[in-house]
């Protein structure tokens, strides 16, 4: 059984008019069934309003299915007795770094989670140190979070989640507000975590370049999963993605354009090096 599993997960909410009367129902998620392997890196793409954040909020039971089910690490998220287990298994990192940091000193902020889990004090310090090391922020442990850059704040937020020793981390557009360096820092951190801590990573993003290293990509539209596959399989379908208001990485777009102009560039190019290599090969064969 996967670390995150759903069976016909549906989430419906009522729309109200100004007087508060129900004027209709809205299905944000419509019978989504998926199964995510422990330790994998999964990306979810989809336009604004496609249901990806709603789905993410189900993973640590901020929302629970109105129909169907979701299990995290084998616990049914609908079961109130499992709530703590679910939240300890899956941690979330949100878009705005300023909305999720509560401590006045970095190490205090990171220790907040384990403290609330009732972890003994010495263990908390060890976890704080280990998590800050994992995100490369140990030297900032005595700093005030509000003096950090956006990327550094997000790494502290990630450390705060890791300190709770979750099986899985859900990142909901963690780089939307960051500059290019901050984006790189956060992605590098996520990669390191997968390798060292073996956590499952679920990344939601609007930046196509960020998902090329994922094991599996889900594309959502109107509450459904409409595409599912490896980044290479997904990004070869340029026109299909455009239909869902999405895009492909710039290098893939360029390869696609060169193909259209008659160059024999292979399908599914995702990285700068791949395109450069392919073009050098072509040159040699002329």
């Amino acid at each position: 059984m996967g670390i995150i599993q759903t069976d016909k997960l549906t989430f419906e909410y009522a729309k109200h008019d100004e007087e508060g009367n129900v004027i209709g129902m809205n299905r944000a998620i419509d019978e989504v069934t998926l199964d995510i392997e422990p330790g994998s890196f999964v990306a979810i793409l989809g336009h604004n309003g496609s249901g990806k954040s709603t789905l993410a909020k189900h993973i640590n039971a901020i929302l629970v299915p109105t129909e169907g089910s979701m299990w995290v690490n084998g616990c049914d998220t609908k079961d109130p007795n499992e709530l703590w287990n679910v939240r300890q298994s899956a941690g979330m990192v949100f878009q705005n770094p300023d909305n999720q940091i509560i401590g006045t000193v970095v190490e205090e902020d990171v220790g907040f989670g384990p403290e609330n889990l009732g972890v003994p004090t010495e263990d908390i310090w060890k976890r704080v140190e280990d998590s800050l090391k994992a995100v490369g922020m140990l030297e900032y442990r005595f700093h005030s979070p509000n003096k950090l850059s956006g990327g550094q704040k997000q790494r502290v937020a990630i450390a705060g989640v890791i300190a709770m020793h979750p099986k899985c981390i859900v990142l909901d557009e963690p780089t939307a507000m960051l500059d290019p360096n901050g984006r790189k820092e956060v992605l590098r951190t996520v990669q390191e975590l997968r390798k060292q801590e073996k956590v499952t990573v679920v990344l939601i993003t609007h930046y196509m370049e960020e998902v090329i290293d994922a094991d599996l990509v889900f594309v959502m539209d109107e509450g459904h999963v409409v595409m599912e596959g490896t980044p290479r399989a997904i990004f070869t379908q340029v026109d299909e993605l455009k239909k869902y208001r999405l895009d492909v990485p710039q290098v893939t777009m360029l390869a696609d354009e060169l193909q259209k102009r008659g160059l024999a560039v292979p399908d599914g190019i995702l990285r700068t090096e791949e395109l450069v290599e392919a073009l050098c090969q072509l040159k040699q064969n002329i």
Binding site: N48, S149, M177, N181, M208, V251, E257, L263, C280, L282
Partner: protein, 282 residues
Amino acid sequence: MSIKAEHLNYIYSPGTAYEKQALKDVSFEILQGQFVGIIGHTGSGKSTLIQHLNGLTLATSGSLFYEGKNIYDEGCDMKALRSQVGLVFQYPEHQLFEVDVLTDVCFGPKNQGLTPDECEKRAKEALELVGFPEKYYKQSPFDLSGGQKRRVAIAGVLAMQPKVLVLDEPTAGLDPKGRDEILDQVAYLQKETGMTVILVSHSMEDIAKYVNRIMVMNHGEKLYDGTPKEVFAHYKELESVGLAAPQVTYIMNALADRKIEVKTDAITIEEAADEIMRSFHD
């Protein structure tokens, strides 16, 4: 017809432990009708700089001229300045507040003292300019999608008919299509109306695609000021200040490193494709 900054300095909380110089001796002139991009790492002074443009933040020293008049002179009409230089903040949809879309967009012109009819006319024009569908004019702005909310917020500033439109990361958090739609619309406005547009963005690809001049901020100072090609030619230096170049710039440089004869100054997919095809046909 221009905005001209001379030796702008801005110091936060002077004389306290938190004293920080956010702008250091910044000078430039932006002519009417230019499309200027401002890039820089978090905390580089971009947002502080644009808040100076309509006098929302006043420089500690230096001068700022709008259409030849120093806005720091006594008796300068700040209200007039602010209706000429329209500022769209980050996440502007958080500032929507009215009962319906049309009323929200009317708020700006209403405060400029226009008649209700005139306000409505302006609001409708502005909503049309941002490509907002008429059937939602009477909807609550809170029921709209993220992209639509942002259009309404931008229309709210356009309804004041500014000569200069300043946008602080207008596409953060939008899906790729939403990003393209908003920026295409802004580019269209700039061309059609001759409006000056100043765009702050963290997306080098967007900057490369739309603007004709880039100013790079680093630790409160202006590091580079030039055409996108000139600025992105410094891609290694840009990386050292927390920025980057568009992905195609890296591709062209990698090709050149492998002795494929391409010019490395392509910054859009179109240009890169043209240049690569040319190298294959020669």
